[in-house]
Subunit: 384 residues, 2 copies
Amino acid sequence: MERLVTSNLKLGIIAGGQLGKMLIQEASKWDVISYVMDSEKECPAASVASHYINGDRLNYEDVCSFGKMVDVLTYEIESVNTKALKKLKEEGVKVKPDPEVLELIQDKGLQKQFYEQHAIPTSPFTLFQGKEEILRAVSSKSLRFPFVQKIRKGGYDGQGVAIIETEKDLGKLLEGESLVEEKVPIAKEISVIVARNEQGEVRSFPVVEMVFDKQANLVERLTCPANISEEQEERAQSIALKLVNSLEMSGLLAVEFFIDKRGDVIVNEISPRPHNSGHHSFESVITSQFEQHLRGIMNLPLGSTQLKMPAVMINLLGEPGYEGKVKYEGLTESMAIEGVKIHLYGKKITKPFRKMGHVTVLSESLEEAVGKAEKVKNLIKVKA
Amino acid sequence: MERLVTSNLKLGIIAGGQLGKMLIQEASKWDVISYVMDSEKECPAASVASHYINGDRLNYEDVCSFGKMVDVLTYEIESVNTKALKKLKEEGVKVKPDPEVLELIQDKGLQKQFYEQHAIPTSPFTLFQGKEEILRAVSSKSLRFPFVQKIRKGGYDGQGVAIIETEKDLGKLLEGESLVEEKVPIAKEISVIVARNEQGEVRSFPVVEMVFDKQANLVERLTCPANISEEQEERAQSIALKLVNSLEMSGLLAVEFFIDKRGDVIVNEISPRPHNSGHHSFESVITSQFEQHLRGIMNLPLGSTQLKMPAVMINLLGEPGYEGKVKYEGLTESMAIEGVKIHLYGKKITKPFRKMGHVTVLSESLEEAVGKAEKVKNLIKVKA
């Protein structure tokens, strides 16, 4: 039977950011009809979607009525009303990835417990009710410096995380139910995106290496392939595949890892959706992460994840000090550099460190691509 | 100065077929606002365009009022009201490629004369007023078999062409102003797509080889790289570059060539737009033909045309004997083959030999890609 019913299949995407936009760009190649629900009419995905629906992703009624319009429902952000998703699933709407998986991932505490239950390597942790309880644990010396506090629910792009190195940092502690974990002595950060479909077929993308901008706590650059040992690559991919299988999910799972100073590969966190660390795949991998996600959630055979060419990806972030109607500098000059691929998300308003676009640089040599990416980073400025 | 004014630049495309759709898919990556004008609301490009405008591309008023809505105006088909395009150009609208170039290309007679003036190799030809004049030339033996008659204006996808091998074929002669050329003893057909911008920068895509389906007179399969000598490759590319320079155009020029039995490279015909023979570039070349066309018409630096991987492209044509609401067979099975990339244009109605989509197969080995493309051709059926 033909599973891909084209010109008829309605794909619903909750939230209309850049991930939704790129998902629709791929879906349009198969003539899938796309519906996007977002509270902002001018969101990036609305410009390419077949239909835009105004709605609040945290509102039970909005999510329910949106879900009933479509055949397959997905989301491009974790903070969605899962109660509504579960109700829709009960009523027969294909909600992918599964609402139960999303619920687990929304809570960093449950995530950690899941790793523990499935013998997935992760840093030791304790759950706390709030700030006061953490301070008591510090006083009683049951919790030792340095450590990392993460709010269990709602964190995003480095928000909801406090790094506590010494007593002086205790003022940074955040309110709310938290997960506290040992601070890993990080040598490297890497990411592996894996996919699974209902048949249980799985595939892993090549490992990518992430270099962080400390100030913004956002990925500054990622490179594929990663400069790690073959053993580490295999280890990371096998852990990611074990995770996606244990979750029995459909669609993509992005797994972020630390490699510690001893060379051990440790899971940091996971996302059940396309991921910033997979943007390069649009141009550099036979099947992009967005197409693979579609294949996964639509229960189609998964595609080849072979790398076509080495790639470096940089995010285009709003310059600090600028807020308002966006103006780009340096696009034309950057386009003149061989192998530069520019993506602008179409956000009208820039803010400091807001993700406004990204650039992928392709080259036969990864070193050359890194050099070109540096040039582009210096050329393109996102101002107001 | 920043030439790419994003979130503001309005690109108008006359006609909304698959070429317009793919152009918009690329334009959306730069957040270009796309306007498409077509007489059919359900045309392929409308599903991805920012704005759909109903209009007839041959109607002077429709083209004029559409052109005034946008900053850069282009077309994805040759049969457009050029009088309107010229008027718009006069009034300051950026019409790219230039209306004068389009006018030349619309008329296969003028095209041929242009080749002659610029010493571009092409088969010897004569222009005729119509069928009667051709018959008189045959009678008087000033025209000898075999020959090819081409209607000067309006032909498309093999329409408007009569191949006259012997006296028996004379019944096939078409009415209207015609170009008659010697029938080239064809060894191979190849295509070269080149691009140029206002600065005079030029780039050539790798040569592709086309295998024709004799019955439908449509490309059956194309492969890149082409299996030709280095000398022939250089010759074809240098002719194509000479053409785009002589025309002083902005945007893409697709040049179709014959290679005759002696190995000579001869121009067949040209199109000032993205071309079926460049579809593979979406996945296999660093800059796709669609992005390159945008760069050309928007006067941006041209992008790298380096091949990422060998590719084979096949068109998905409506099966003979089926007409009506389209139904696809074999998509899911085809997706399970490594390296298969499916594009469906979203046409609701299929007809015999109508272009409904295409498939690009990527592989390290061209031979393997050809084998996989054969499999896909047997699997996917476009029925009603």
